[in-house]
C-alpha cells in the first residue's frame, strides 16, 4: 500500500500526521500533489533608486518565523490576522532579505508583500513607492 493510498484511507487529519512522521525520510516522493507542502518562502525587495536602511513591510498570507537573510540585519515581526508585519533594519538595495515559514509553499503566488515605510541611513523617510517587495520560492 502506498502512502498516498494510506492517506486516502485514513482521511485528511490522519494522513497529514502520517506525512509529518514520514517527512524526514523522503517527503517529495510521498506527498500527494494536492497535499500542503510546508516550507520556506523568500521575501525580496527591489529598489528603483538607492538603498533603503530600514523597512516596514506588510505580508499578506499565512506565514511565521521570519528570519533575516543577512545576519547583520535586524528583523522584528508580529503576526497579524492576514499575515505578518516586519521591520527590517539593514542596508538593502535589491535582493532577498528574509525567509518566512509557510504551510504550503505551492501557494507562494497567493502571498503579497508591501513596503509600508522605508528610511535611509540618516533615518529619514524615503518614498515607499520606490521599493517593491515580493514573496517567492
Amino acid at each position: 500500500m502506498s502512502i498516498r493510498s494510506v492517506c486516502l484511507g485514513l482521511g485528511r487529519p490522519a494522513a497529514l500526521g502520517l506525512v509529518i512522521l514520514l517527512a524526514g525520510c523522503k517527503p517529495t516522493a510521498i506527498v500527494e500533489p494536492d497535499t500542503p507542502q510546508p516550507g520556506t518562502l523568500t521575501l525580496s525587495i527591489q529598489a528603483s533608486g538607492g538603498q533603503g536602511h530600514a523597512f516596514l513591510i506588510e505580508i499578506v498570507g499565512q506565514a511565521s518565523s521570519p528570519t533575516a537573510v543577512n545576519d547583520s540585519h535586524l528583523l522584528f515581526h508580529i503576526a497579524t490576522g492576514p499575515g505578518l508585519r516586519l521591520i527590517l533594519i539593514g542596508a538593502v538595495a535589491s535582493g532577498p532579505v528574509a525567509r518566512i515559514q509557510v504551510p504550503d509553499v505551492r501557494q507562494a503566488s497567493t502571498y503579497t508583500a508591501q513596503v509600508v515605510e522605508v528610511a535611509d541611513d540618516m533615518n529619514r523617510l524615503l518614498s515607499a513607492s520606490s521599493f517593491t517587495a515580493q514573496i517567492g520560492s
Binding site: H53, A54, F55, L56, S65, P66, T67, A68, D71, S72, L74, L75, F76, H77, I78, T80, R85, L86, I87, I89, E117, V118, A119, D120, M122, N123, R124, L125
Partner: protein
C-alpha cells in the same frame, strides 16, 4: 304832615273831630310819627403819613370807616394817586358799625421827595358824603449795607488760632451808613465794631477767631452788620470754623544700626515718617553728624500718611570705632515735635564675608547630575578673610572648601550637585561660609535642587511592537523616539532605526520578535 323840620325821633299827635250837635262829639284820632336819621360817614384818622427809604415800600396802615348815622352806609373808597391803594374798596355798615380799611403805598419806584394823595369815602345816601383822608408820603434817601464775602471759613488745629480774615462793608445806598458789627459767639470777634461810611465808601472789618480753647469739631457763628437807617439792615456774615487735631510725628524704627567696614560705606537704611495726628505735618529733618545724611530733608503729610526717608552713612573716611548720631524730625506745629532717630555706627577693620549669589538653583533629570555652578566669596571688610565652606547635604560638594582673601578680593567656589542617586522631588541644602574673625560670620547660600522623573525608555521590543502593531507608546516616549530620529512629528521606521542605533544594536544580530 310835615316832618322835614323835625329832628330824628318819635312824635305823637291827636286829630280831634267835633260837632257840638253831635251826640258823641268830640271824637279823637291818635297819630304817631317816627323821624329816623340819615347814614353818616365817619373816618379816622383824617390823615396818614408814610415815610420810606428810597427804593422801598413802607408798611401798610389802616383807616377805620364808621356809619355814624342811621340806616345803612354803603360806602365806596377812591384814591387819586397811582401809588396809593386801599382794601377793601367798598362796604356796607349799619348804624354804628365800623370797618378797617388797609392803605398801601407803592413807593419803590418813586424818586425821593414828598407826595400827597387823598382817599375819598362816599355814599350818596349819607348825610355827610363824601369824606376824605389825606395821605402824606415821604420817600427819602437811605444808606444800604454791602458786605463781602457773606461767608468766612476758618480751619485751625486744636490749641491754635487760625489766621484772621476780613470782610468789606460798603455803603451801597445814599446818605451816611452808620454801621455796627456784632458777633454771636465768644470765640468770634469783628474789629472795628462800628463805623460810618459815605455813599460808595468801603471799610475793612477784621474777623478774628480765637479757637485755642476749643475742642476739635465744627463751629458756626455770625457777624451781623446793621444800621437802623439802612434800607437793608441787617446783613449777616456766616463764619464756619473747623478745629482739627494737631499733627504728630511718628517714626519707625526709632533707631538704626549701621555696620561698616573700614574704608567702605554701609548700605543705606530707611526711616518711615508718619503723621499720626491730624491736620498736616510739615516735617523737616536734621542730622547732627557730618557722616550722616537723609533724603528727603522734609515733606508734608496729611493725617495718616507716611513717607520713607533714606538714611545714608558716609563712613569711608572714618577710623575704626563706634559712632553715634541722630536724625531729628520736627514740625513746630506738631504735638510731639521733635522726634529723634538714634543712629549707631560701628566701623570695623575686621574681614567680612560676602557671598554671591545667596541662592543656587539646580534642576536635573532623574539619574543625572546638573551642571556645576559658581559661588563667589568676597572679603567685604579689611584684613584677611580665612573662609571655610561647608554644606549640610551629602549631595552637594564644594571645591575648594577653604580659602584666604584680602580686603576686596574674591574667590570662586565650584558647587557640584550629585543627584544621580536621588529620586524625583525637591531638595534643599545650605552652604555656610564662615570665618570666626569676620564681622558677619557666618553667611549662607541656599541650594535648591529639583529632580525630575526620568523618561522610561522603551525596550527595543516595545518600540518595535508599537510600530508593528497596536501597542501604542505613551506620547512622551513617542516624542522622545521622534526626537532622536527624523523629527517629523510622528513615530516611524526611521525613528526606530535611530533608536536601535542609540541602543547599540545595529551591528549585532537580534532574532526576530
Amino acid at each position: 304832615m310835615t316832618s322835614s323840620g323835625l329832628a330824628a325821633g318819635t312824635y305823637g299827635g291827636t286829630v280831634t273831630v267835633s260837632d257840638p250837635a253831635a251826640s258823641n262829639t268830640p271824637q279823637t284820632v291818635a297819630v304817631d310819627l317816627t323821624v329816623t336819621a340819615l347814614p353818616a360817614i365817619g373816618v379816622a384818622p383824617p390823615t396818614l403819613t408814610f415815610g420810606t427809604p428810597l427804593g422801598t415800600d413802607p408798611p401798610s396802615q389802616t383807616i377805620t370807616i364808621t356809619n355814624t348815622g342811621g340806616g345803612t352806609l354803603n360806602w365806596v373808597a377812591n384814591v387819586n394817586q397811582s401809588w396809593l391803594s386801599v382794601s377793601p374798596t367798598s362796604g356796607s355798615l349799619g348804624a354804628g358799625q365800623s370797618e378797617a380799611v388797609a392803605v398801601m403805598v407803592s413807593s419803590a419806584n418813586l424818586p425821593a421827595g414828598g407826595y400827597a394823595g387823598t382817599i375819598t369815602i362816599s355814599d350818596p345816601g349819607a348825610s355827610n358824603s363824601p369824606q376824605t383822608v389825606t395821605v402824606n408820603l415821604a420817600v427819602f434817601s437811605a444808606p444800604a449795607i454791602g458786605v463781602s464775602p457773606n461767608t468766612l471759613t476758618f480751619a485751625a488745629q486744636v490749641g491754635t488760632d487760625p489766621p484772621t480774615q476780613t470782610v468789606t462793608v460798603t455803603n451801597t445806598g445814599t446818605n451816611t451808613l452808620n454801621w455796627s458789627a456784632t458777633v454771636d459767639q465768644s470765640w468770634l470777634n469783628a474789629s472795628p465794631s462800628s463805623g460810618s461810611l459815605t455813599s460808595g465808601a468801603s471799610q475793612v472789618v477784621t474777623v478774628t477767631v480765637t479757637s485755642a480753647g476749643l475742642a476739635t469739631g465744627s463751629y458756626t457763628g455770625t457777624v451781623t452788620i446793621s444800621d437802623p437807617a439802612a434800607s437793608n439792615s441787617p446783613q449777616i456774615v456766616t463764619v464756619d470754623l473747623t478745629v482739627s487735631a494737631l499733627p504728630a510725628i511718628g517714626l519707625s524704627p526709632g533707631s538704626l544700626s549701621f555696620n561698616a567696614q573700614i574704608g567702605r560705606d554701609p548700605p543705606t537704611q530707611t526711616v518711615t515718617v508718619t503723621n499720626t495726628g491730624g491736620g498736616t505735618l510739615n516735617w523737616g529733618a536734621a542730622v547732627n553728624q557730618p557722616w550722616l545724611s537723609v533724603s528727603p530733608k522734609g515733606g508734608s503729610l496729611t493725617s495718616g500718611q507716611s513717607q520713607a526717608v533714606t538714611v545714608r552713612v558716609g563712613s569711608a573716611n572714618l577710623a575704626a570705632g563706634n559712632y553715634a548720631g541722630a536724625v531729628t524730625i520736627s514740625d513746630t506745629g506738631a504735638s510731639n515735635s521733635p522726634q529723634v532717630v538714634v543712629v549707631n555706627l560701628a566701623v570695623s577693620s575686621s574681614p567680612a564675608i560676602g557671598v554671591a549669589p545667596n541662592a543656587l538653583t539646580y534642576s536635573a533629570d532623574e539619574g543625572s547630575d546638573p551642571a556645576d555652578q559658581p559661588l563667589t566669596v568676597t572679603n567685604l571688610g579689611g584684613g584677611t578673610l580665612n573662609w571655610r565652606a561647608v554644606t549640610d547635604q551629602t549631595w552637594v560638594s564644594l571645591s575648594p572648601e577653604t580659602g584666604a582673601r584680602g580686603a576686596g578680593q574674591s574667590q570662586t567656589i565650584t558647587v557640584s550637585v550629585n543627584s544621580s542617586d536621588l529620586g524625583p522631588g525637591s531638595y534643599a541644602a545650605t552652604i555656610t561660609i564662615s570665618d570666626p574673625a569676620a564681622s558677619n560670620s557666618p553667611q549662607t547660600a541656599a541650594v535648591t535642587l529639583g529632580v525630575a522623573a526620568a523618561l522610561r525608555q522603551p525596550t527595543v521590543g516595545e518600540a518595535a511592537n508599537s510600530l508593528l502593531g497596536p501597542n501604542a507608546l505613551t506620547p512622551d516616549v513617542v516624542a522622545f523616539l521622534d526626537s532622536i530620529g527624523n523629527q517629523n512629528g510622528r513615530y516611524d521606521v526611521g525613528d526606530f532605526r535611530a533608536y536601535v542605533q542609540m541602543l547599540g544594536l545595529l551591528a549585532s544580530t537580534i532574532p526576530g520578535g
